[in-house]
Structure formats: structure tokens, C-alpha cells
Amino acid sequence: MKIAVLSGKGGTGKTLVSVNLAAAIAPSVYLDCDVEEPNGHLFFRPKSIQREAVTVKIPAVDETKCNACRTCVEFCKFHALAMVGTRWMLFDDICHSCGGCTLLCPQQALHEVEKSIGEIQTGTSEGVTVRTGWLDPGQSSGVPIIRKLFAAESPLDQPMIVDCPPGSACIVMDSIRDADYCILVAEPTLFGLHNLKMVHELVRLFQKPHGVILNKCIEGDNPSKDYCLEQGITILESIPFDKTIGRLNSNGRILARELPQYHEMFTRLHQKIREVAGYETAADSER
């Protein structure tokens, strides 16, 4: 079962939830898809790390063959190509690696070359396989890294927890595409509600079963909670605004490994998700 954890903005508690969930239900797989700022590894401190480079294909020109016909420039709908006089120009940050320009070139002057955009690191931490995607600074899209993270072989019988990037852009869509269930993490503020609505819209669009974890709950109004009740969204758990959590978390410690009540909370969360996602019977009958 693949469970994706998302929120409309950074700092809401995606990593807290996904790291603890993966740790509580080990053996499991933790995928850090927040490739611009991966931080799950700071908690897991995985051992025996293996690295794999991630590359994409971009076009290159053979100037002796190019006759400046502009077929490629006119084809590229991302406008990654320009022709200044007879000089061919590529804006590789904008190139989506579709390969169309290379295929269409009447002079066969274009060919594809590999460009490195980042890497994937895989390690283990007390029964959790930790896979982290790293996008090199300055690269525009982490989507190829996310695809590679998912493409790697993982133990089929182990649950997979996907720590998504913040927001609701392309890169988040790629992170939840394969998910069986989505956990939306929300803060108890109006801004938190705004961010919750963004990801809620996304999971509805993808028709994913989903539920909300209300994080940093304090006494008083909780607009995110009101929204869930009004929309009939399952509230999976409410995590209090608690100094102990804050302190352990900022020291890179995993609550579920240190405090029994949190181990219990995240185990219960997994159980609840399996029930609502209809996983219970299928998984249990295998035992």
C-alpha cells in the first residue's frame, strides 16, 4: 500500500507525519519526494547509502549539419529553442526532454545528450528503507527524480510512505499518482485552511481516497477542522501543539521511536487508513 502525505505549504508537518508513520510500521519504505529540500534523512540517519545519478536527455546540435530551417524552434511548445541568424540556441532549463526536436530535424543535425539533474540515495534505518531524491540547485523540475524514485524496486509486501513536496504543482501530482491513499496535513489557521483547500482540490481531481491530520492543534478556533466537518472529510488524527514534539523534532529525533504514545498513535493511524481504504481484508487474508 502506498500512502502519500501532502500539505499546501512547507512546515505544516508532512515530514513529521511521514517519518513517524514509516518508523512506527517498519518494515516499510520511506520515499522523500521533497527533492528541493529533502529532510526525512535527517531523522532516519540511514546507513549503507547507495547513490544513483539522475539524468535527463536534452538536444545538442551538429552545426555542420544544421541549415537553420527552424523546424525544431517552431515545434518546441515550451520555447526552449531559439535561432539567432544561423546560431542554434538551447535553454536547457526549459527543455522538457520530449525528444521531438531531435526526431523532427530534417537535416538530422540534432541528437540527445545526457544532462545530470540530481541523484537518489538509498539507505536503511531500523527496518525502514529510506529513499531520498536530491535535485541539484538551479535545476527547474524535479519530476524526473520523482519518477525514478518510484521506478526503483521496493519490497512489495511493505507499505510505502511518500513524503510529498509542498504545494499542488506538477511535482506533487507525480508524487501522488501511484498512491492508494492520501493524508493531508493541515494547520489550525486561515492560511492553513487555504493550503488545505489546495491539496484537497488536487486529491479530489485525482479521485484518491483521503483524510486529514490536524496538526499543531490548540484551544480555540480551527478553520481547517471546520472545513473538514463541513465537507465530510475524514479526520484521521489531531496532533496537539506540544513542546515535547517540537523539541524532539528539532533535534532530529523520531517520536514513534522514543515515546510509546506516539508509536501507538501512528500504528493506529496506519490501521485506520487500511480500514478506510479497504485494505484490511485483502492484506489480512494473505497472512
Binding site: C76, V84, A169
Partner: protein, 119 residues
Amino acid sequence: MKIAIPADEQKMEGNVCISFGRTPYYLIFDTEAGTGTFMVNEAAQSQGGAGIKAAQAVVDSGAQVLLTPRCGENAAKVLNGANVRIHRSIEGSLTENIEAFKAGQLPLLEEIHPGYHGH
């Protein structure tokens, strides 16, 4: 010499558009003939790479000078590649900018911004 200017409207007394890549029109003004033509900026509607596409159109128009309040990095690469000089425009009409340029009052645009790209 031909001068390109991003334009809000298709009239000489109209204003310079604040955006280079997303401007609705370009004025291509021929200083020798003293006449100009307006060209629709087809890049304005594109999702990404508007600056590159717009710069390509300006280069293709044969303009040697661009008057604009701002310009992104990618567009500047295309324009520089074609030796199009980029001068900073002033607030006011297209006509006023052409006059100011002729009088040598418009300095080269120094700040090239990294662009407003988003995925």
C-alpha cells in the same frame, strides 16, 4: 535603423508595456522612414518560455534596438546573441520614448532579472 518597443495598444500615443515577454503588441519603428508597424506578440499566451519566443520575434523583425522597462535573462540571451541593444524605456508614450532614444537619453538596461518562471 529599426527600434522595437513593447506596447499596450496599437497607437503611437499609447504607453510602453511594463512586460517584455507578455506584452500584447510590439511597435517596430523604422527611424529612417519615420514610420512604424505594430506586431501582435504571439508569445503573450504561451505557458512558459514567453521571453524566448518574444525575443525570437523581435530578432526576426530585424530590430537592432529594443526599448523596454525590463527584460528577463533568457530573452536577453537571445537578444544579445543577435546583437540587439537593450535600452531602458521611460514612462510615457511610444513617441516620447522614440524621441528620448534619438536624443541619447535612454541608457542601456543594466539589470536583467532572472525571470518569473514557475512550474
